[in-house]
Symmetry: C2
Subunit: 206 residues, 2 copies
DNA sequence: ATAGTTACTGACTCACAGGTCAGTAACGGA
DNA sequence: TCCGTTACTGACCTGTGAGTCAGTAACTAT
């Protein structure tokens, strides 16, 4: 009695395929990844992949969405529901999150968005609405709250909350591009920036 | 007497072709740009292009090098030979340079390095040696000079001069990826960051 | 003029990868 | 155990674009 050559697993296939695709894209980038390789990695034929995803581009979008959504939701809930002071939150949960990015698989997505974004305007739109806007808003409310309760002075961070996260992007890209020659300690780099920001916005005792 | 169908211009061809390639890559990215299109843009046949550049990859590398070199040389000479104080230099020539990046054609190269870098390790090595290392060193010496002459206190910027330029990368990428939905005022964004940095490292009068 | 040199052309080749589809076999129900 | 359904396979088709090369015409030297 021979082993069955394959199993029917309709429910699990999409997740298995997007996971395989993420790994493949991470290694080679989008253009250089063959659909056939993704299929092999997922233990599936190319034909099946095309039953679940209409085109390679469709697969790409599914990968981004499936990885990004849960993470960004978690961060934003975290900001909204914390009972820490603004400074405690920034030095605690935020810093932990920020330091993890350059080391986690998510960093790949940042590269993919930069590299492939211009070819997929609707994906960029989705990313803007679901990630950038929401994260910006959450951060801004954090700084506003800090000002309201007297922790912080009014500063450029209220207008440009992005100023907080610039070193996260910088070290992520650095890590990806210069992984051979890198000696940058991304943890201390990001910490130093957060120190500087807090130092410049904390209300002086007066 | 008919016009000649073409002219022989051995000297000028390489520069014309790399210029055309930069424009094409800027519009479509590397993978999506056809060698034939680059040739057409340069007013040249595909065959001629292959006389000057062995492969498409070779052309890509030539584009990066030819655009980057003169700019980085200018900046570094500027730092080394200025007779401004460190703060004056940062608020003057450096800020002008920094603000120009997200708007200039060079921003394309940043995207190309991120997107294609991993496939061209020798190009990344060249970029590290000729751009990143030299720029880092020049900036570090600027902060060191500031400390020596009592303008600045010793700070994280002496160890991580990169902290100065993070918003330049951030706004460049933002501009490229989110050009449709962008409302970020990159000039004021970068200025606000430089203000913050200077505010946090200036020696207090004591 | 004319012959020699070489910058230049563009039709061609060919490998490759996205996408298709006719057939196959796993599974569920009777 | 057989039949119907459909998840799944993989050989095939096809457009595309990188790279080639035999031929052509612009220039040069005599």
């Amino acid at each position: 009695m021979a082993e069955p050559r394959f199993q029917r697993r309709k429910e699990d296939r999409p997740a298995e395929i997007t996971q395989a695709a993420l790994e493949a894209f991470a290694e080679k980038g989008y253009a250089a990844t063959k659909v056939d390789d993704v299929a092999k990695r997922a233990g599936v034929s190319k034909g099946l992949l095309y039953l679940y995803f209409k085109t390679k581009e469709d697969l790409f979008k599914a990968v981004i969405r499936s990885i990004v959504s849960p993470r960004i939701d978690a961060l934003i809930n975290n900001i909204e529901e914390t009972d820490l002071s603004a400074e405690e939150f920034l030095r605690g949960p935020f810093l932990t999150f920020a330091k993890s990015i350059p080391k986690s698989p998510v960093r790949i997505l940042i590269r993919l968005m930069i590299a492939e974004g211009p070819k997929h305007p609707d994906l960029v739109k989705w990313y803007w609405d679901n990630v950038v806007s929401r994260a910006t808003k959450a951060l801004r409310s954090l700084f506003d709250k800090g000002v309201e309760n007297g922790e912080f002075r009014e500063s450029a961070l209220n207008e440009f909350p992005h100023l907080l996260v610039t070193p996260v992007f910088f070290s992520t890209i650095f890590t990806i591009v210069f992984k051979q020659q890198m000696t940058l300690d991304t943890d201390r780099f990001i910490e130093a920036h957060v120190d500087m920001v807090l130092g410049s916005i904390k209300a002086e005792a007066e």
